[in-house]
């Protein structure tokens, strides 16, 4: 049996691989900070605390956009947690490669994001723990520092609509969506989800149409 490389080497390899992605994640964090700190957003300190504790871009933007639109807190919470539901299967996929007792495994699992997971994937279902942690730490630092820079810059800015910042939300979600459209069922779920949301908008409080759109994922049951 081959001796696995030492974890320090894998940590560094993961961190180095993550640097170009960390630049993008940091800039993404800046935009989250700017949108949160400008008028109607959740505010500077909640945005930074959310980046530190939640560390999941699309969920944070979803919560921020629902709060900005005047939606109920429950709607923001439900949408964010449903978006993060993908971390259940992702967490399971890396579970047997994380060492240590339950507390250590729990802590290490917090560094799993889409990008660190992809960097750690070694093909045929194998994941390199050191790479996952190295990449996760770099990406987390980029996300949190980007958010801090964004809230500082965002508080200096004025009306978000005049700056076109309200158009930034759909553009951002579209960019995130495009990377998800890799199969026919995914495209079907996206079209159905958008249709559900538009149809329900006149009849329900803001945020509810987004949660209802999660029902479109049930088409995943039909094709087996």
């Amino acid at each position: 049996m081959e001796q696995p490389p030492p974890i320090r080497f894998e940590l560094r390899a993961g961190a180095v691989t993550a640097i170009p992605l960390a630049v993008a994640v940091g800039l993404f964090g800046v935009s989250f900070g700017v949108l949160s700190a400008t008028s109607g957003g959740m505010g500077a300190l909640p945005a930074v605390v959310m980046s530190v504790t939640t560390f999941a871009g699309s969920a944070q933007f979803a919560a921020a956009s629902i709060l900005t639109a005047g939606g109920q807190p429950m709607a923001a919470i439900a949408a964010a947690l449903l978006l993060n539901a993908r971390y259940i299967p992702i967490g399971i996929s890396v579970a047997r490669f994380l060492t240590g007792g339950p507390a250590r495994r729990f802590a290490k699992a917090q560094l799993v994001v889409d990008e660190s997971w992809a960097i750690a994937a070694g093909g045929d279902g194998h994941f390199e723990q050191g790479r996952l942690l190295g990449a996760g730490i770099v990406l987390w630092l980029a996300w949190v520092s980007g958010t801090m820079i964004g809230v500082i810059g965002g508080e200096a800015l004025g009306d978000p609509a005049a700056l076109g910042l309200d158009a930034a939300f759909p553009a951002l979600f579209l960019a995130l969506l495009v990377s998800q459209l890799q199969s026919r069922p995914a495209i079907g779920a996206a079209l159905l989800g958008a249709a559900i949301a538009v149809v329900l908008t006149p009849f329900t409080p803001p945020g509810v149409p987004i949660i209802a759109a999660a029902g479109a994922a049930l088409i995943g049951l039909a094709r087996r």
């Binding site: 993008a24 935009s31 959740m42 505010g43 909640p46 959310m50 504790t53 939640t54 919560a63 709060l67 639109a69 005047g70 807190p73 923001a76 964010a80 947690l81 449903l82 978006l83 993060n84 539901a85 993908r86 971390y87 259940i88 967490g91 399971i92 996929s93 890396v94 579970a95 495994r105 290490k108 699992a109 917090q110 076109g164 309200d166 158009a167 930034a168 759909p170 553009a171 951002l172 979600f173 579209l174 960019a175 969506l177 495009v178 069922p185 995914a186 779920a189 996206a190 989800g193 949301a197 908008t201 329900t204 409080p205 149409p209 759109a213 029902g215 479109a216 994922a217 995943g220 049951l221």
Partner: protein, 104 residues
């Protein structure tokens, strides 16, 4: 104000629990494949709903305004394979220009 902190706390703790659940509870056992199929479609369904509501929604109304011009600019930027930040900036700048010249 305090409502926002509840949202931040619940999303933070909930996400930690979601991320930690597999490694702590399940070990190496996989999810049933039917459930995996549904979970995999949650992100595209929700993100598409977010595109639609943030582009067209205004409270409980559907309105077409400068945001759609911004979204068009984002589509062009995505077709040109621009990075996410450029896509977002293109949308914001296009919408701001549209408003400046009195569209939407």
């Amino acid at each position: 104000m305090s409502e926002i902190w509840i949202v931040v706390a619940v999303i933070g703790l909930g996400t930690m629990a979601i991320k930690g659940s597999g490694p702590v509870l399940l070990g190496g056992r996989p999810l049933p494949s039917r459930l995996t199929g549904v979970v995999a479609l949650l992100a595209p369904a929700l993100l598409a709903a977010l595109v639609a509501t943030t582009a067209l929604g205004d409270g409980q109304q559907i309105v077409a305004n400068a945001r759609l011009i911004g979204l068009g600019a984002a589509v062009v930027a995505l077709i040109l394979r621009a990075p996410v930040l450029v896509v977002v900036l293109a949308a914001a700048i296009a919408a701001a220009i549209a408003r400046l010249i009195g569209i939407g």
